[in-house]
Symmetry: C2
Subunit: 239 residues, 2 copies
DNA sequence: ATAATAAATGTAATTAATACATTTATTATA
DNA sequence: TATAATAAATGTATTAATTACATTTATTAT
Protein backbone atom coordinates (compact mmCIF):
# COMPACT_ATOMS: atom_id res chain seq x y z
CA UNK A 1 0.00 0.00 0.00
CA UNK A 2 1.34 3.42 -0.87
CA UNK A 3 1.83 5.57 2.18
CA UNK A 4 0.55 9.09 1.93
CA UNK A 5 3.59 11.05 0.74
CA UNK A 6 2.22 14.51 1.41
CA UNK A 7 -0.42 14.53 4.13
CA UNK A 8 -2.94 17.19 3.21
CA UNK A 9 -5.36 17.56 6.09
CA UNK A 10 -7.06 20.46 4.32
CA UNK A 11 -8.32 18.07 1.68
CA UNK A 12 -10.15 16.10 4.33
CA UNK A 13 -11.16 19.05 6.48
CA UNK A 14 -13.24 20.64 3.79
CA UNK A 15 -15.37 17.48 3.45
CA UNK A 16 -18.45 17.02 5.61
CA UNK A 17 -18.89 14.03 7.88
CA UNK A 18 -22.00 11.90 8.34
CA UNK A 19 -23.51 9.67 10.97
CA UNK A 20 -22.86 6.03 10.10
CA UNK A 21 -24.86 3.19 11.60
CA UNK A 22 -24.92 -0.58 11.22
CA UNK A 23 -28.17 -2.54 11.31
CA UNK A 24 -28.28 -6.31 11.55
CA UNK A 25 -30.81 -8.58 9.92
CA UNK A 26 -30.55 -11.64 12.14
CA UNK A 27 -32.04 -14.84 10.75
CA UNK A 28 -32.78 -17.98 12.72
CA UNK A 29 -34.51 -21.30 11.99
CA UNK A 30 -36.48 -23.09 14.71
CA UNK A 31 -36.83 -26.34 12.76
CA UNK A 32 -40.09 -25.19 11.27
CA UNK A 33 -39.99 -21.52 10.28
CA UNK A 34 -37.48 -18.86 9.35
CA UNK A 35 -37.36 -16.21 12.07
CA UNK A 36 -35.97 -12.73 12.48
CA UNK A 37 -34.58 -11.34 15.72
CA UNK A 38 -35.94 -7.85 16.37
CA UNK A 39 -35.65 -5.34 19.13
CA UNK A 40 -38.54 -3.69 20.90
CA UNK A 41 -37.22 -0.23 21.65
CA UNK A 42 -37.59 0.97 25.23
CA UNK A 43 -36.13 4.40 24.67
CA UNK A 44 -36.51 7.22 22.23
CA UNK A 45 -36.33 7.67 19.38
CA UNK A 46 -39.12 5.25 18.40
CA UNK A 47 -39.81 4.02 21.92
CA UNK A 48 -42.24 1.10 21.77
CA UNK A 49 -41.61 0.38 18.09
CA UNK A 50 -39.82 -2.62 16.60
CA UNK A 51 -36.49 -2.14 14.93
CA UNK A 52 -33.51 -4.11 13.73
CA UNK A 53 -30.63 -4.41 16.13
CA UNK A 54 -28.04 -1.76 15.36
CA UNK A 55 -25.71 0.94 16.55
CA UNK A 56 -23.78 3.93 15.38
CA UNK A 57 -20.28 3.09 14.16
CA UNK A 58 -17.62 4.51 16.44
CA UNK A 59 -14.55 6.15 14.95
CA UNK A 60 -12.39 3.53 16.67
CA UNK A 61 -14.01 0.53 14.99
CA UNK A 62 -14.74 -0.85 11.53
CA UNK A 63 -18.32 -1.50 10.46
CA UNK A 64 -17.70 -5.21 11.03
CA UNK A 65 -16.45 -4.49 14.55
CA UNK A 66 -19.60 -2.47 15.20
CA UNK A 67 -21.88 -5.22 13.91
CA UNK A 68 -20.12 -7.90 15.92
CA UNK A 69 -20.27 -5.68 18.99
CA UNK A 70 -24.05 -5.30 18.81
CA UNK A 71 -24.54 -8.97 17.95
CA UNK A 72 -22.58 -9.93 21.02
CA UNK A 73 -24.43 -7.42 23.19
CA UNK A 74 -27.83 -8.62 22.06
CA UNK A 75 -27.29 -12.36 21.72
CA UNK A 76 -24.14 -13.22 23.64
CA UNK A 77 -22.88 -14.92 20.47
CA UNK A 78 -19.54 -14.55 18.75
CA UNK A 79 -18.19 -16.26 15.62
CA UNK A 80 -21.44 -16.19 13.73
CA UNK A 81 -22.01 -15.82 10.01
CA UNK A 82 -22.13 -12.11 9.17
CA UNK A 83 -22.05 -10.55 5.75
CA UNK A 84 -22.63 -7.11 4.36
CA UNK A 85 -25.94 -6.63 2.62
CA UNK A 86 -26.16 -3.06 1.38
CA UNK A 87 -25.66 0.57 2.30
CA UNK A 88 -28.87 2.54 2.82
CA UNK A 89 -28.11 6.17 2.29
CA UNK A 90 -31.15 7.99 0.95
CA UNK A 91 -30.98 11.55 2.21
CA UNK A 92 -34.39 11.39 3.91
CA UNK A 93 -34.22 7.83 5.22
CA UNK A 94 -33.99 8.94 8.84
CA UNK A 95 -36.03 12.02 9.74
CA UNK A 96 -34.00 12.45 12.93
CA UNK A 97 -30.63 13.07 11.30
CA UNK A 98 -28.57 12.62 8.12
CA UNK A 99 -27.43 9.08 8.75
CA UNK A 100 -26.39 6.29 6.45
CA UNK A 101 -26.83 2.72 7.54
CA UNK A 102 -24.74 -0.26 6.57
CA UNK A 103 -27.00 -3.29 6.75
CA UNK A 104 -25.48 -6.68 7.51
CA UNK A 105 -27.21 -10.00 7.72
CA UNK A 106 -26.36 -12.66 10.25
CA UNK A 107 -27.27 -16.33 10.45
CA UNK A 108 -27.47 -17.84 13.87
CA UNK A 109 -28.12 -21.27 15.29
CA UNK A 110 -31.22 -20.78 17.42
CA UNK A 111 -30.11 -23.72 19.54
CA UNK A 112 -26.93 -21.85 20.49
CA UNK A 113 -28.84 -18.64 21.07
CA UNK A 114 -31.18 -20.24 23.59
CA UNK A 115 -28.19 -21.36 25.57
CA UNK A 116 -26.34 -18.05 25.25
CA UNK A 117 -26.77 -15.67 28.12
CA UNK A 118 -27.93 -12.30 26.93
CA UNK A 119 -28.64 -9.35 29.17
CA UNK A 120 -31.20 -8.13 26.67
CA UNK A 121 -34.73 -9.29 27.25
CA UNK A 122 -36.15 -6.75 24.85
CA UNK A 123 -35.45 -8.86 21.77
CA UNK A 124 -38.02 -11.10 20.11
CA UNK A 125 -38.02 -13.74 17.41
CA UNK A 126 -40.71 -13.04 14.85
CA UNK A 127 -41.76 -15.20 11.91
CA UNK A 128 -40.68 -13.77 8.58
CA UNK A 129 -44.12 -14.30 7.12
CA UNK A 130 -45.73 -12.14 9.81
CA UNK A 131 -43.26 -9.34 10.42
CA UNK A 132 -44.37 -6.32 12.42
CA UNK A 133 -43.85 -2.87 11.01
CA UNK A 134 -40.29 -1.77 11.71
CA UNK A 135 -38.88 1.73 12.06
CA UNK A 136 -37.36 3.71 9.18
CA UNK A 137 -36.41 1.62 6.15
CA UNK A 138 -35.87 -1.55 8.17
CA UNK A 139 -38.68 -3.50 6.46
CA UNK A 140 -36.97 -2.83 3.15
CA UNK A 141 -33.69 -4.05 4.59
CA UNK A 142 -35.33 -7.29 5.69
CA UNK A 143 -36.92 -7.81 2.27
CA UNK A 144 -33.54 -7.23 0.61
CA UNK A 145 -31.81 -9.56 3.06
CA UNK A 146 -34.33 -12.31 2.39
CA UNK A 147 -33.73 -12.00 -1.32
CA UNK A 148 -29.97 -12.11 -0.70
CA UNK A 149 -30.36 -15.16 1.54
CA UNK A 150 -32.14 -16.95 -1.30
CA UNK A 151 -29.51 -15.99 -3.84
CA UNK A 152 -26.61 -16.84 -1.62
CA UNK A 153 -28.03 -20.11 -0.29
CA UNK A 154 -28.44 -21.37 -3.82
CA UNK A 155 -24.71 -21.43 -4.50
CA UNK A 156 -23.09 -21.31 -1.07
CA UNK A 157 -23.58 -23.69 1.85
CA UNK A 158 -24.79 -21.01 4.22
CA UNK A 159 -27.94 -22.90 5.19
CA UNK A 160 -25.80 -24.98 7.53
CA UNK A 161 -25.18 -21.83 9.61
CA UNK A 162 -28.85 -21.87 10.58
CA UNK A 163 -28.88 -25.51 11.74
CA UNK A 164 -27.32 -27.08 14.81
CA UNK A 165 -23.81 -28.30 14.02
CA UNK A 166 -25.22 -31.83 14.07
CA UNK A 167 -28.28 -31.99 11.87
CA UNK A 168 -30.41 -34.52 10.05
CA UNK A 169 -31.14 -34.58 6.33
CA UNK A 170 -34.88 -34.03 6.82
CA UNK A 171 -34.05 -30.95 8.94
CA UNK A 172 -31.90 -29.53 6.16
CA UNK A 173 -34.61 -30.26 3.63
CA UNK A 174 -37.21 -28.43 5.73
CA UNK A 175 -34.88 -25.43 5.98
CA UNK A 176 -34.35 -25.38 2.21
CA UNK A 177 -38.09 -25.65 1.65
CA UNK A 178 -38.58 -22.70 3.96
CA UNK A 179 -35.90 -20.53 2.36
CA UNK A 180 -36.88 -21.29 -1.22
CA UNK A 181 -40.62 -21.49 -0.62
CA UNK A 182 -40.90 -24.74 -2.55
CA UNK A 183 -40.83 -28.44 -1.80
CA UNK A 184 -38.17 -30.98 -2.66
CA UNK A 185 -38.42 -34.69 -3.32
CA UNK A 186 -36.89 -36.40 -0.27
CA UNK A 187 -35.10 -39.08 -2.32
CA UNK A 188 -33.57 -36.65 -4.79
CA UNK A 189 -32.65 -34.14 -2.09
CA UNK A 190 -30.83 -36.75 -0.06
CA UNK A 191 -29.17 -38.26 -3.11
CA UNK A 192 -27.89 -34.88 -4.32
CA UNK A 193 -26.68 -33.84 -0.87
CA UNK A 194 -24.80 -37.09 -0.30
CA UNK A 195 -23.31 -37.01 -3.82
CA UNK A 196 -21.45 -33.81 -2.87
CA UNK A 197 -19.69 -35.73 -0.05
CA UNK A 198 -19.63 -32.58 2.05
CA UNK A 199 -21.60 -33.90 5.01
CA UNK A 200 -20.07 -36.50 7.28
CA UNK A 201 -22.42 -39.11 8.76
CA UNK A 202 -22.31 -39.54 12.51
CA UNK A 203 -23.17 -42.75 14.35
CA UNK A 204 -25.90 -40.93 16.29
CA UNK A 205 -29.56 -40.34 15.66
CA UNK A 206 -31.86 -37.47 16.45
CA UNK A 207 -35.09 -38.89 17.89
CA UNK A 208 -37.02 -35.70 18.49
CA UNK A 209 -39.13 -35.94 15.34
CA UNK A 210 -39.71 -39.66 14.85
CA UNK A 211 -39.75 -42.99 16.61
CA UNK A 212 -37.33 -44.43 14.11
CA UNK A 213 -34.91 -41.53 14.55
CA UNK A 214 -32.86 -39.87 11.83
CA UNK A 215 -29.12 -40.05 11.46
CA UNK A 216 -27.11 -36.93 12.27
CA UNK A 217 -24.56 -35.39 9.94
CA UNK A 218 -21.95 -32.67 10.19
CA UNK A 219 -20.98 -30.26 7.41
CA UNK A 220 -17.33 -30.57 6.42
CA UNK A 221 -16.22 -26.94 6.17
CA UNK A 222 -12.59 -27.83 5.56
CA UNK A 223 -13.43 -30.03 2.60
CA UNK A 224 -15.72 -27.35 1.22
CA UNK A 225 -12.95 -24.75 1.44
CA UNK A 226 -10.57 -27.08 -0.35
CA UNK A 227 -13.01 -27.86 -3.15
CA UNK A 228 -14.18 -24.31 -3.66
CA UNK A 229 -10.60 -23.13 -4.12
CA UNK A 230 -10.43 -25.56 -7.04
CA UNK A 231 -13.53 -24.03 -8.62
CA UNK A 232 -16.19 -26.31 -7.16
CA UNK A 233 -19.60 -24.66 -7.09
CA UNK A 234 -21.93 -25.75 -4.29
CA UNK A 235 -25.54 -26.26 -5.26
CA UNK A 236 -28.30 -28.61 -4.11
CA UNK A 237 -30.74 -28.00 -6.91
CA UNK A 238 -31.34 -26.39 -10.25
CA UNK A 239 -33.91 -23.66 -10.35
CA UNK B 1 -42.68 3.59 7.20
CA UNK B 2 -43.20 4.64 10.79
CA UNK B 3 -42.57 8.31 11.29
CA UNK B 4 -40.45 9.25 14.23
CA UNK B 5 -43.00 9.87 16.98
CA UNK B 6 -40.67 11.55 19.47
CA UNK B 7 -37.72 13.18 17.75
CA UNK B 8 -34.76 12.85 20.06
CA UNK B 9 -31.93 14.86 18.64
CA UNK B 10 -29.82 14.15 21.71
CA UNK B 11 -29.69 10.50 20.67
CA UNK B 12 -28.05 11.48 17.40
CA UNK B 13 -25.95 14.32 18.78
CA UNK B 14 -24.00 12.14 21.12
CA UNK B 15 -22.88 9.94 18.18
CA UNK B 16 -19.73 10.78 16.26
CA UNK B 17 -19.74 11.36 12.54
CA UNK B 18 -17.28 10.03 9.98
CA UNK B 19 -16.02 10.95 6.55
CA UNK B 20 -17.74 8.84 3.92
CA UNK B 21 -16.35 8.39 0.42
CA UNK B 22 -17.34 6.45 -2.66
CA UNK B 23 -14.77 4.84 -4.92
CA UNK B 24 -15.63 3.42 -8.33
CA UNK B 25 -14.09 0.37 -9.94
CA UNK B 26 -14.79 1.06 -13.60
CA UNK B 27 -14.45 -1.88 -15.95
CA UNK B 28 -14.29 -1.71 -19.72
CA UNK B 29 -13.61 -4.20 -22.52
CA UNK B 30 -11.80 -3.14 -25.66
CA UNK B 31 -12.65 -6.30 -27.61
CA UNK B 32 -9.49 -7.98 -26.45
CA UNK B 33 -8.74 -7.23 -22.81
CA UNK B 34 -10.59 -6.24 -19.64
CA UNK B 35 -9.55 -2.74 -18.63
CA UNK B 36 -9.87 -0.53 -15.58
CA UNK B 37 -10.31 3.24 -15.69
CA UNK B 38 -7.98 4.93 -13.20
CA UNK B 39 -7.15 8.44 -12.28
CA UNK B 40 -3.67 9.93 -12.19
CA UNK B 41 -3.88 12.39 -9.33
CA UNK B 42 -2.62 15.86 -10.05
CA UNK B 43 -3.17 17.24 -6.56
CA UNK B 44 -2.44 16.22 -3.02
CA UNK B 45 -2.94 13.99 -1.25
CA UNK B 46 -1.12 11.38 -3.33
CA UNK B 47 -0.23 13.74 -6.18
CA UNK B 48 1.26 11.71 -9.04
CA UNK B 49 -0.13 8.39 -7.81
CA UNK B 50 -2.87 6.31 -9.41
CA UNK B 51 -6.18 5.95 -7.67
CA UNK B 52 -9.72 4.87 -8.32
CA UNK B 53 -12.17 7.56 -9.26
CA UNK B 54 -14.04 8.70 -6.17
CA UNK B 55 -15.35 11.50 -4.01
CA UNK B 56 -16.57 12.27 -0.55
CA UNK B 57 -20.31 11.80 -0.12
CA UNK B 58 -22.08 15.09 0.44
CA UNK B 59 -24.83 15.31 3.09
CA UNK B 60 -27.28 16.25 0.34
CA UNK B 61 -26.80 13.08 -1.73
CA UNK B 62 -27.04 9.33 -1.40
CA UNK B 63 -23.99 7.17 -2.02
CA UNK B 64 -25.48 6.24 -5.41
CA UNK B 65 -25.90 9.93 -6.25
CA UNK B 66 -22.28 10.51 -5.32
CA UNK B 67 -21.04 7.62 -7.45
CA UNK B 68 -23.11 8.70 -10.45
CA UNK B 69 -21.87 12.25 -10.00
CA UNK B 70 -18.22 11.26 -10.19
CA UNK B 71 -18.86 8.82 -13.04
CA UNK B 72 -20.49 11.60 -15.02
CA UNK B 73 -17.71 14.06 -14.17
CA UNK B 74 -14.98 11.67 -15.23
CA UNK B 75 -16.54 9.93 -18.22
CA UNK B 76 -19.45 12.06 -19.36
CA UNK B 77 -21.62 8.91 -19.13
CA UNK B 78 -24.99 8.47 -17.45
CA UNK B 79 -27.21 5.39 -17.22
CA UNK B 80 -24.41 2.93 -16.80
CA UNK B 81 -24.37 -0.28 -14.81
CA UNK B 82 -23.41 0.53 -11.22
CA UNK B 83 -23.62 -1.76 -8.24
CA UNK B 84 -22.37 -1.65 -4.70
CA UNK B 85 -19.36 -3.82 -4.01
CA UNK B 86 -18.43 -3.45 -0.37
CA UNK B 87 -17.79 -0.99 2.43
CA UNK B 88 -14.13 -0.55 3.35
CA UNK B 89 -13.97 0.74 6.88
CA UNK B 90 -10.82 -0.46 8.59
CA UNK B 91 -9.81 2.19 11.10
CA UNK B 92 -6.33 2.68 9.62
CA UNK B 93 -7.23 2.35 5.93
CA UNK B 94 -6.57 6.03 5.22
CA UNK B 95 -3.65 7.57 7.12
CA UNK B 96 -4.96 11.06 6.34
CA UNK B 97 -8.28 10.79 8.17
CA UNK B 98 -10.86 8.42 9.62
CA UNK B 99 -12.79 7.74 6.46
CA UNK B 100 -14.89 4.86 5.29
CA UNK B 101 -15.26 4.14 1.61
CA UNK B 102 -18.19 2.61 -0.17
CA UNK B 103 -16.81 0.88 -3.24
CA UNK B 104 -19.04 0.49 -6.27
CA UNK B 105 -18.24 -1.18 -9.55
CA UNK B 106 -19.37 0.11 -12.90
CA UNK B 107 -19.42 -1.51 -16.32
CA UNK B 108 -19.10 0.76 -19.28
CA UNK B 109 -19.15 0.36 -23.04
CA UNK B 110 -15.74 1.59 -24.12
CA UNK B 111 -17.25 2.48 -27.49
CA UNK B 112 -19.63 4.93 -25.80
CA UNK B 113 -16.83 6.30 -23.62
CA UNK B 114 -14.66 7.19 -26.58
CA UNK B 115 -17.51 9.21 -27.99
CA UNK B 116 -18.42 10.86 -24.70
CA UNK B 117 -16.88 14.22 -24.09
CA UNK B 118 -15.15 14.34 -20.76
CA UNK B 119 -13.35 17.35 -19.35
CA UNK B 120 -10.98 15.02 -17.53
CA UNK B 121 -7.86 14.06 -19.42
CA UNK B 122 -6.18 12.69 -16.33
CA UNK B 123 -7.87 9.29 -16.55
CA UNK B 124 -6.28 6.21 -18.12
CA UNK B 125 -7.42 2.77 -19.13
CA UNK B 126 -5.09 0.14 -17.73
CA UNK B 127 -5.12 -3.61 -18.39
CA UNK B 128 -6.31 -5.60 -15.40
CA UNK B 129 -3.40 -7.99 -15.72
CA UNK B 130 -0.87 -5.17 -15.39
CA UNK B 131 -2.39 -2.80 -12.87
CA UNK B 132 -0.20 -0.09 -11.38
CA UNK B 133 -0.01 0.29 -7.64
CA UNK B 134 -2.99 2.31 -6.44
CA UNK B 135 -3.34 4.46 -3.34
CA UNK B 136 -4.72 3.23 -0.02
CA UNK B 137 -6.66 -0.04 -0.24
CA UNK B 138 -7.69 0.50 -3.86
CA UNK B 139 -5.83 -2.54 -5.18
CA UNK B 140 -7.80 -4.69 -2.75
CA UNK B 141 -11.01 -3.07 -3.96
CA UNK B 142 -10.14 -3.95 -7.55
CA UNK B 143 -9.31 -7.54 -6.63
CA UNK B 144 -12.63 -7.84 -4.79
CA UNK B 145 -14.51 -6.25 -7.70
CA UNK B 146 -12.94 -8.67 -10.16
CA UNK B 147 -14.03 -11.59 -8.03
CA UNK B 148 -17.52 -10.11 -7.82
CA UNK B 149 -17.61 -9.57 -11.58
CA UNK B 150 -16.85 -13.26 -12.07
CA UNK B 151 -19.51 -14.35 -9.61
CA UNK B 152 -22.13 -12.02 -10.93
CA UNK B 153 -21.45 -12.64 -14.62
CA UNK B 154 -21.96 -16.34 -14.09
CA UNK B 155 -25.62 -15.96 -13.23
CA UNK B 156 -26.58 -12.50 -14.48
CA UNK B 157 -26.29 -11.11 -18.00
CA UNK B 158 -24.04 -8.24 -17.01
CA UNK B 159 -21.40 -9.04 -19.60
CA UNK B 160 -23.61 -7.33 -22.17
CA UNK B 161 -23.02 -4.02 -20.33
CA UNK B 162 -19.40 -4.18 -21.42
CA UNK B 163 -20.14 -4.71 -25.12
CA UNK B 164 -21.55 -2.31 -27.70
CA UNK B 165 -25.33 -2.59 -27.80
CA UNK B 166 -24.94 -4.42 -31.11
CA UNK B 167 -22.40 -7.18 -30.69
CA UNK B 168 -21.35 -10.41 -32.37
CA UNK B 169 -21.27 -13.84 -30.77
CA UNK B 170 -17.49 -14.18 -31.14
CA UNK B 171 -17.13 -10.80 -29.34
CA UNK B 172 -19.24 -12.05 -26.46
CA UNK B 173 -17.27 -15.27 -26.31
CA UNK B 174 -13.98 -13.36 -26.16
CA UNK B 175 -15.35 -11.27 -23.30
CA UNK B 176 -16.43 -14.37 -21.39
CA UNK B 177 -13.05 -15.95 -21.97
CA UNK B 178 -11.42 -12.82 -20.59
CA UNK B 179 -13.65 -12.58 -17.52
CA UNK B 180 -13.50 -16.27 -16.63
CA UNK B 181 -9.90 -16.81 -17.70
CA UNK B 182 -10.80 -19.94 -19.64
CA UNK B 183 -11.73 -20.85 -23.19
CA UNK B 184 -15.08 -21.97 -24.54
CA UNK B 185 -15.92 -24.18 -27.47
CA UNK B 186 -17.35 -21.86 -30.14
CA UNK B 187 -20.08 -24.30 -31.19
CA UNK B 188 -21.28 -25.01 -27.68
CA UNK B 189 -21.05 -21.38 -26.65
CA UNK B 190 -23.16 -20.22 -29.58
CA UNK B 191 -25.63 -23.08 -29.15
CA UNK B 192 -26.13 -22.36 -25.46
CA UNK B 193 -26.47 -18.61 -26.00
CA UNK B 194 -29.02 -19.00 -28.78
CA UNK B 195 -30.99 -21.61 -26.79
CA UNK B 196 -31.75 -18.94 -24.18
CA UNK B 197 -33.48 -16.86 -26.89
CA UNK B 198 -32.36 -13.67 -25.15
CA UNK B 199 -30.38 -12.20 -28.01
CA UNK B 200 -32.14 -10.93 -31.10
CA UNK B 201 -30.37 -11.37 -34.44
CA UNK B 202 -29.99 -8.26 -36.57
CA UNK B 203 -29.73 -8.27 -40.36
CA UNK B 204 -26.35 -6.53 -40.13
CA UNK B 205 -22.81 -7.78 -39.91
CA UNK B 206 -19.74 -6.50 -38.19
CA UNK B 207 -16.81 -6.71 -40.60
CA UNK B 208 -14.04 -5.33 -38.45
CA UNK B 209 -12.60 -8.71 -37.51
CA UNK B 210 -13.10 -10.88 -40.57
CA UNK B 211 -13.66 -10.80 -44.29
CA UNK B 212 -16.75 -12.92 -43.96
CA UNK B 213 -18.21 -10.66 -41.30
CA UNK B 214 -20.15 -11.77 -38.24
CA UNK B 215 -23.83 -11.18 -37.61
CA UNK B 216 -24.78 -8.63 -34.97
CA UNK B 217 -27.18 -9.31 -32.10
CA UNK B 218 -28.88 -7.25 -29.45
CA UNK B 219 -29.61 -8.40 -25.89
CA UNK B 220 -33.33 -8.43 -25.10
CA UNK B 221 -33.46 -6.80 -21.66
CA UNK B 222 -37.25 -6.77 -21.53
CA UNK B 223 -37.51 -10.48 -22.18
CA UNK B 224 -34.82 -11.15 -19.59
CA UNK B 225 -36.74 -9.12 -16.98
CA UNK B 226 -39.92 -11.04 -17.76
CA UNK B 227 -38.24 -14.42 -17.53
CA UNK B 228 -36.26 -13.67 -14.39
CA UNK B 229 -39.42 -12.63 -12.57
CA UNK B 230 -40.69 -16.15 -13.28
CA UNK B 231 -37.61 -17.69 -11.69
CA UNK B 232 -35.44 -18.09 -14.79
CA UNK B 233 -31.74 -18.22 -13.95
CA UNK B 234 -29.37 -16.88 -16.61
CA UNK B 235 -26.23 -18.89 -17.18
CA UNK B 236 -24.06 -19.61 -20.20
CA UNK B 237 -22.00 -22.44 -18.76
CA UNK B 238 -21.55 -24.80 -15.88
CA UNK B 239 -18.39 -24.39 -13.89
C1' DA C 1 -49.28 -58.37 18.28
C1' DT C 2 -50.72 -54.30 15.79
C1' DA C 3 -51.08 -49.56 14.35
C1' DA C 4 -48.91 -45.44 13.53
C1' DT C 5 -45.12 -42.49 12.07
C1' DA C 6 -41.25 -40.49 9.90
C1' DA C 7 -36.84 -42.21 7.72
C1' DA C 8 -34.55 -44.51 4.29
C1' DT C 9 -33.91 -46.44 -0.23
C1' DG C 10 -33.38 -47.49 -6.29
C1' DT C 11 -34.43 -47.20 -11.08
C1' DA C 12 -35.88 -45.60 -15.42
C1' DA C 13 -36.77 -41.52 -18.31
C1' DT C 14 -35.61 -37.06 -19.52
C1' DT C 15 -32.80 -33.18 -20.08
C1' DA C 16 -28.49 -30.74 -20.27
C1' DA C 17 -23.55 -30.53 -21.13
C1' DT C 18 -19.63 -31.88 -23.58
C1' DA C 19 -16.38 -33.31 -27.25
C1' DC C 20 -15.23 -32.83 -31.71
C1' DA C 21 -14.16 -31.37 -37.70
C1' DT C 22 -15.88 -29.37 -41.81
C1' DT C 23 -17.93 -25.94 -44.75
C1' DT C 24 -18.92 -21.03 -45.84
C1' DA C 25 -18.36 -16.14 -47.08
C1' DT C 26 -15.26 -12.91 -48.20
C1' DT C 27 -10.97 -10.36 -49.35
C1' DA C 28 -6.36 -10.10 -50.92
C1' DT C 29 -2.99 -11.83 -53.78
C1' DA C 30 -0.77 -14.61 -57.38
C1' DT D 1 -9.65 -14.93 -62.67
C1' DA D 2 -8.11 -18.58 -59.80
C1' DT D 3 -6.16 -19.42 -55.31
C1' DA D 4 -4.90 -18.70 -50.59
C1' DA D 5 -6.05 -17.01 -46.32
C1' DT D 6 -9.15 -15.95 -42.52
C1' DA D 7 -12.66 -15.96 -39.17
C1' DA D 8 -17.66 -17.39 -38.94
C1' DA D 9 -20.99 -20.75 -38.93
C1' DT D 10 -22.83 -25.32 -38.36
C1' DG D 11 -24.49 -30.89 -36.34
C1' DT D 12 -24.14 -35.17 -34.00
C1' DA D 13 -23.04 -38.63 -30.79
C1' DT D 14 -21.60 -39.36 -25.94
C1' DT D 15 -21.76 -38.51 -21.29
C1' DA D 16 -23.49 -36.51 -17.15
C1' DA D 17 -27.09 -34.57 -14.39
C1' DT D 18 -31.79 -34.05 -13.10
C1' DT D 19 -36.27 -35.57 -12.48
C1' DA D 20 -40.28 -38.52 -11.44
C1' DC D 21 -41.97 -41.89 -8.75
C1' DA D 22 -43.63 -46.13 -4.43
C1' DT D 23 -42.15 -49.31 -0.99
C1' DT D 24 -39.76 -50.95 3.04
C1' DT D 25 -37.67 -50.08 7.64
C1' DA D 26 -37.10 -48.95 12.54
C1' DT D 27 -39.32 -47.72 16.38
C1' DT D 28 -42.88 -46.53 19.91
C1' DA D 29 -47.39 -46.62 21.73
C1' DT D 30 -51.50 -49.04 22.20
Amino acid sequence: MLQNPNPAPAYYQQAETLLVAVDCIIFGFDGEKLKLLVFKRKLNPFAGAYSLIGSFVHPSESTTDAARRVLFDFTGLQDIFLEELHVYSEVDRDPGARCISIAKYALIRVTDYHKALSDHYDTEWVALDSLPELVLDHNRMVADALQRLKQKAQFYPIGFELLPKKFTIPMLQRLYEEIFERSFDARNFRKKLLSLTLVKPLPEKDRTTSKKGSFLYRFDYKKYERLSKKGFQFSLFKI
